[in-house]
Amino acid sequence: MISTSHLPYMAPEILLTLWAMVLLLAEAFLSLTPRTTARLALAGIGVTAILTLLLQVSPTGSTLFWGDLCKWDGAAKFFHLFFLAVAALVIWMGDEVQEPVASHGGEFAIMPLFTTVGLMLLASANDFMVLFVALELVTISFYILVAYQHRSLVALEAGVKYLILGALSSAFLVMGIAYIFGITGTTHFDSITYTCHLYANHLRALPVGISFGLLLVLVGVGFKIAMVPFHIWAPDVYEGAPNSITAFLSVGSKAGGLIILMRIVLSVFGGQGGVEIWYPVLYIGAILSLILGNLAAIPQRNLKRLLGYSSIGHSGFILVAVIGSAATLPGRPHASVADMALGQTTVSVYLVTYLLATFTAFIVLAILNRRLAGLEIHHLAGLSQRSPLLAAAFALSLISLAGVPPMSGFIAKALVILVAWNHHLYTLLFITLFAAVAALYYYLGPIKAMYWSEPLDETPIRINRSTTVVLSVLMVLLIVTGFWAQSISVMVTGSTLAQTDSAAPAHVALAQH
């Protein structure tokens, strides 16, 4: 049932895949310099972004395409653009900021294109088969990127650890999908929603097989978003990977895991029956991530590990918003459509502010990586005297991650707390507040070192013009989106999942007769 009328919706993925393959061949046969390759990869991303912007979200909510395997809705469009922005920053960083890594070859700029295709496909997946293949495309290209510096023991160790835990999570995911397929007889999201709706109506609960499958799928997805207790890979891999890839992992991979988590728990298993299964898992996961992520970051001295643990904490904050977007929670009144939309928009807002702050921080770290003796907190001593711009950028990004009022991170955290309040999730609300206060403490350590310690070495750090421009733009965005919250709503308006109705999808209805 593949018709060409829906080809435009597939165009971003098709175009970027073809472009990445052409670039791989061109890089091998025409001996392009890494810089040219990176520029060409960025051009491909630019064209794909324009194409994505031209694709309209249908007014009725969603468009199914590619034999109903994919779905185009507000969330898909938002996440497509989000991943393209992330990829552009990653490729730019690899080329401009960290020459020693990129000089190994042009693949460092080409592999992120494949990762991005996988992430975009994840955003519109409407079938467990597409979800699995897209997720593996993301994961396998990340193995290569994490261990890209294959002469460095640290990078290889990070790569091998990521490989083993990534493959483990895939195995859990496939097993979970197998059980869901086994009981419902389909891998298609809408058909599973419908079958679950029938089970919930007749039996008041889902069959054990589906619940078991859903639990295994949640384990698999939990790994991707670094939810405690499936977070153990995060700090090690974050420390070992090149800086641009660490930023890619912490923003791109997390957002990819979140969009499929939202599709699975909010739309596929969002009705009665499914909620009883995932609600306790995500509830406990959110609490543990908030507490462990933020407390374990306090004793960290290495900045990349510190950001790694803080990223686990941020997963906790976002999970609170995901729980708060549920249509119905056990023992609580039905949420209004506005509340659900608020929860999903909060996830988008949080991810945008997280993207801005994380990339600002990692661009600074990538620059410092070559200029300082190491990336421990004490190496930052007196940075404000050596390079006021870098110190200001790093300080602003940390303040935003901490959620201090004028910055954009504050808006995101305030929305999370509002969502928890609307849903009467008072325990989560309290723990969120506690975690936000604990986070202040460790984010202030590096700032103190930069502004109130004497530098060991007084030579100023020079940075080139394009880095200055990008850092300034990111800093302005961090402040503007904080002071003027309207600006962020422009980006996230309509970024919600299409409403699923529990009416039978066409082919299920046919099969029933």
Binding site: M129, V154, V160, I164, A171, M175, F181, G182
Partner: protein, 101 residues
């Protein structure tokens, strides 16, 4: 005795748990990697069994995707392990101590 769906599921579950134990207990990277493949095959067996007993072809199609993806994963994974062996002359997990947990 008739072989039912449950027998297949039991075999697959046993394979899955053996694989999981292997990942947790064994100390050699290659053996851990083999155990991971075993877990994926357990999932494949589950899919095929469900597909056969539900009379739906989707599960068998899915298995082909899983096999292909697993092959790609092995290619990258073994390359990583070989690169690590060249650098460190070991594939034992306890020697990977540069990054501390």
């Amino acid at each position: 005795m008739e072989i039912t769906l449950n027998h297949y599921l039991a075999v697959a579950a046993t394979l899955f748990v053996i694989g999981l134990m292997g990942v947790i207990i064994r100390r050699n990277l290659l053996v851990i990697y083999m155990s991971l493949e075993m877990m994926l095959q357990a999932a494949n067996l589950t899919l095929v069994a469900f597909s056969r007993f539900n009379h739906r072809i989707d599960g068998q199609v899915f298995v082909f995707f899983v096999i292909t993806v697993a092959a790609a994963e092995v290619a990258v994974g073994l390359a990583l392990i070989v690169a690590l062996y060249r650098l460190k002359q070991t594939t034992q997990v306890q020697d990977l101590t540069t990054l501390k947990f």
